[in-house]
């Protein structure tokens, strides 16, 4: 009897221990919203109340506007990010594998890396026009630069013993590349994707604030002109949620693809 109640107690403790971050997170979230509501209600702040924001959210969602904006922003990010990473992986491998390629490409990457992608926008608009191209290009650049550096870093930091172990088992360069270098650098590449997606998302919103006719950033820009604070809030929250969801997806992929990694 005692043994049974003992185990139940420990199970309970374990359950509480495991879920407590979630519980604390939820409590903290509710408190935050409460504080916001109280601040707007008591007239301490001119911000819209949570209910006003919720109402605007419902309006924008029902009219379809919100989803159209989300779609426009996401489309740009995903196209730019996909193009950037698809190019970054082979270029990163090339740089890691061949010192000559590194010598040729690295100075350019180092240079463009210190230019904020947004600074390219005026140039992109002048040369690529005002439609989707300049925005996608800037996002492409942001995603490419962060992914290429981490892929390259991943390749050069592949443990030499793995390569030697493969060689003494009879592996030649081709096999070493596909069966050792690629899997060994996958964790680095995925970290690059995560950073790349983050910077692509930051870039798209900023780009839309500057020059766009659609998207969440454009909506905020419009709302700013008409002093539509609830719309700005709705857009900000949508940006946050979408960013979070994309980040979680990459983390999930990371866990699945690199479950073999020793984590400390």
């Amino acid at each position: 009897m005692t043994a049974v109640s003992g185990t139940t107690a420990t199970t309970w403790k374990r359950k509480l221990g495991k879920s407590s971050p979630l519980i604390y997170g939820t409590i903290s979230f509710i408190l935050g919203i409460g504080l916001w509501w109280w601040a707007t209600k008591s007239g301490m702040s001119e911000l819209p109340s949570p209910f006003a924001v919720l109402q605007r959210f419902a309006e924008l969602a029902l009219s379809g506007q919100l989803f159209a904006d989300m779609y426009a922003s996401l489309r740009r990010v995903l196209i730019g990010f996909a193009l950037g990473s698809i190019l970054a992986v082979p270029v990163g491998f090339l740089m890691g594998w061949y010192p000559i390629a590194r010598g040729f490409i690295d100075p350019w990457i180092q240079f463009f890396r210190v230019i904020p992608p947004l600074a390219i926008i005026p140039l992109a608009i002048v040369t690529l026009g005002i439609d989707e191209k300049p925005k996608i290009f800037v996002i492409f650049l942001a995603a490419f630069l962060s992914s290429v550096v981490s892929t390259y870093q991943g390749v050069v930091s592949v443990d030499k013993t793995y390569i030697n172990a493969a060689r003494v088992l009879g592996a030649k360069d081709g096999v070493i590349f596909t069966r050792v270098v690629i899997p060994a650098s996958t964790p680095f590449i995925l970290v690059g994707f995560r950073i790349g997606l983050g910077s692509a998302w930051a870039t798209v919103v900023a780009a839309e604030l500057i020059a766009a006719q659609s998207g969440l950033g454009f909506r905020m820009q419009q709302a700013q002109l008409y002093y539509e604070l609830p719309t700005i809030f709705v857009s900000l929250i949508a940006i946050g949620i979408l960013g979070l969801v994309m980040d979680r997806i990459v983390v999930w992929a990371e866990d699945r693809l690199t479950h073999w990694q020793e984590r400390v």
Binding site: D159, T161, Y162, N164, A165, A166, R167, V168, L169, G170, A171, V175, R179, V180, P183, A184, T186, T258, H259, W260, Q261, E262
Partner: protein, 259 residues
Amino acid sequence: MTSAPKIEFRNLRKTFGEGASLFTAIDNLDLQIRDGEIVTVVGPSGCGKSTAMNIVAGLTDVSSGECRVDGKLVNGPGPERGVIFQQYALFPWLTVRENVEFGLRIQGVGKKDRETRALHYLDLVGLKAFADAYPKTLSGGMKQRCAIARAYAVNPSVLLMDEPFGALDALTRVKLQNQLLDTWSRDKRTVMFITHDVDEAVYIAHRVIVLAANPGRLQEIIEVDLPFPRNDEVRLSPEFITLRNKVWRAVYHRDDQAA
């Protein structure tokens, strides 16, 4: 000696760097290892043990002189020379079985055959139950046994082992030493085994090669005329103690004499 040596170093010299930073890691090494012989290599840190082994493995070039295996000049690594590294070097993204299959896959062995052979060697080292586990879930001794199975699987005629049991506890060490000898008694592969442990060097060897440092060179070769099979009785015999003392003196007392 009747047959040609399995491994032969002839007037071998290996230097690193050049100009002012030129460093002689191995100087004028002449050594022959017979087919089916177990040779252990001991010597102070930095005396070129790993360098010599990497040269046999084909992972490092010679500066002058030559290194031959089966009479042929070593030119790059090959599956007939199996290497077991101190850091295990298991591929963490592959399961235990996939690690053992790695070399077989390169040789183009079919899927089914590969699996059968991998499981056979895993059984030999007592890891069959862990075939589908990832290396991160194994203990140090299990990792090293997996690395041994991986090396055996491609059926090399020479085993090169660089402090393979260096990171393991004493008990696991002795177990793996016995396992190595047990396997050797059946297949009589040539073994070149680097160690820092004088007891280990004597226990498993036909001959102990003692190297000296600065520059790395041959100091002494000690014949181990203890009977096979080696077991606890041998390990506790006065002859064993005499030999281990002799090796100890050759490795550690040199400095006193030189000074």
